[in-house]
Symmetry: C2
Subunit: 314 residues, 2 copies
């Protein structure tokens, strides 16, 4: 069996794989243009280089391991057509992403941006408008692995958590669960609206102007899922008209966010360049999932971990 | 009984006190120069205006309520001499302070200062060096009400907590407790050294160059207690020589921190202008403690809450 990596590994990681799987031929450090694509049964990539042209060339491909959570940019119809199995690394993002969300929430609550600015000017300015996170209320759109970890941490800070998804099924990290159709009614009472939703037919454009009008004027909207949850024009208007207090955005309609985009300069918007899931431990964690799945694959056990439902898109 | 406030209250708070305690004469909005000082049995202040001159004038003073945690700047010997009871508001700081400490830790871990700077330049820069808080180790100097709350939150993030004080007695928010005499031995293994110690004979100058040399080069030192825990010259050398990775300081030898102080401009130092305990809920919470104590006082019950041991200084 041949496995091709377009993800760059450290030498010790390559050695470990070669030693651990003597019957597998590994092609490390390859790109989509390399001819080994044709004979690889498995490809390990970040997903962004998987397109129709590559699928045409990859005649032996049976398993695509994507070291990312979202697969919305990939040609899913063609992948389904060719019966290629797809696994991702969902779950490994939950720690860095939840820590990022809490970092932004606490930084705003405890006046860190104000403090950093004053330090640059060497100005001892105690006129912070700090408040406390404790006792506030958060609505989490998409209480899966990541959303639940965010909810668990918020609960530790004494925040009441409301989870929102399609099913509304109970979740231990959410004090309450609601369904998408109940979302609008609950927005007026929450202090944080945090989305970690994937991009699917159901979530694209889920939030509209009506939703931002329903939110508290002091509320913080955080999008750490996908940029197509809400039209950027709607979001910009909501921020300019102070319908909400602040937005923290890790995802955008177009990435990189073009320099002329108004979001960069809005005083009540934090632009995070899609980095909330990054962590020094990322590749190693992805490899551990891959190695477990490769062991199964070699035993013809196709009940892989983190299998993606290509039809549903997550 | 006469009670004098040098703390400014909101009209509704004054009205509540007058209604709730009809037998008490309240003097609101007073300063140390007002003649009502002479007849007041209780004074409610932030503590900074309590000096020997005031104590001379306050001939009827029996109870001093200080809406602050530290009383180290007050003339303690004279207060003890005159048998004046002192209560403070320890405990009400724990939420805002713990949230501030976590805000700074997470902001550094998840690259928020880097992100804010890039946003000002409208630069989409994903070369963050973000890592995860989970799995790290923190040493908390002074695991009282505030330190324990910091420990509890760190534990929720998967951080191992080591508490350090005089007794070394067990504490549920600390995975381990050590005594001051064991501090130096444990510094080489921890990622965060967080002090919330008050200023006492025992804590002044507790940390020396030897301690900073023992810390990890990547470690973060946070002083949220009192500025005299370590000589500022020692701290500045430690930061300049990169003995540690970063310092976050909420307290200083001299406050406000003079503009010529080197700490302002060190790239691995965050200057927080003694604001970590501030919160919009501060005065109201202080009043609630005061009201409970006033009820006791009027019943000649002198087992007041938050009584300060004037001899020990905390």
């Amino acid at each position: 069996m041949e496995v091709l990596f377009t993800i760059k590994l450290k030498p010790y990681q390559e050695e470990r794989l070669v030693t651990k799987f003597p019957d597998v031929t590994f092609h490390f450090d390859k790109s989509a243009d390399d001819k080994e694509i044709e004979t690889a049964a498995a490809i390990v990539s970040y997903g962004s280089n998987i397109n129709v042209a590559l699928l045409e060339k990859a005649k032996s491909l049976k398993w695509l391991m994507v070291a990312s959570a979202g697969i919305d940019k990939m040609p899913l119809a063609e992948i389904a057509d060719k019966n290629i199995m797809v696994t991702n690394v969902r779950g490994i993002h939950k720690t860095p992403m939840a820590e990022s969300v809490l970092a932004h929430i606490l930084a705003l609550k405890r006046s860190l941006p104000f403090m950093y600015k004053n330090q640059e000017a060497k100005e001892w300015n105690r006129r912070v408008r700090s408040s406390e996170l404790k006792g506030s209320k958060a609505l989490i759109l998409g209480p899966g692995a990541i959303g639940s970890e965010i909810g668990r941490l918020l609960q530790a800070f004494g925040v009441r958590t409301i989870g929102c998804n399609r099913s509304g099924n109970a979740n231990p990290s959410m004090d309450e669960m609601i369904r998408f159709d109940g979302l609008l009614d609950r927005l007026p009472e929450v202090d944080y609206v945090i989305s970690v939703l994937p991009s699917t037919q159901e979530t694209r454009g889920l939030l509209t102007e009506e939703h931002f009008q329903a939110m508290k004027e002091t509320s913080v909207f955080m999008n750490f899922g996908r940029g197509d949850l809400v039209a950027e024009s709607v979001l910009i208007e909501a921020l300019k008209n102070e319908m909400i207090g602040h937005a923290v955005l890790d995802v955008f309609e177009n990435e990189p966010l073009p320099v002329e985009n108004e979001l960069w300069a809005l005083p009540n918007c934090t632009v995070s360049p899609h980095v909330s899931s990054l962590s020094g431990k990322y590749v190693e964690r992805s490899l551990i999932i891959f190695e477990g799945n490769l062991e199964k694959w070699l035993k013809a056990d196709h009940t892989l971990d983190n299998l993606v439902d290509v039809q549903k898109g997550y």
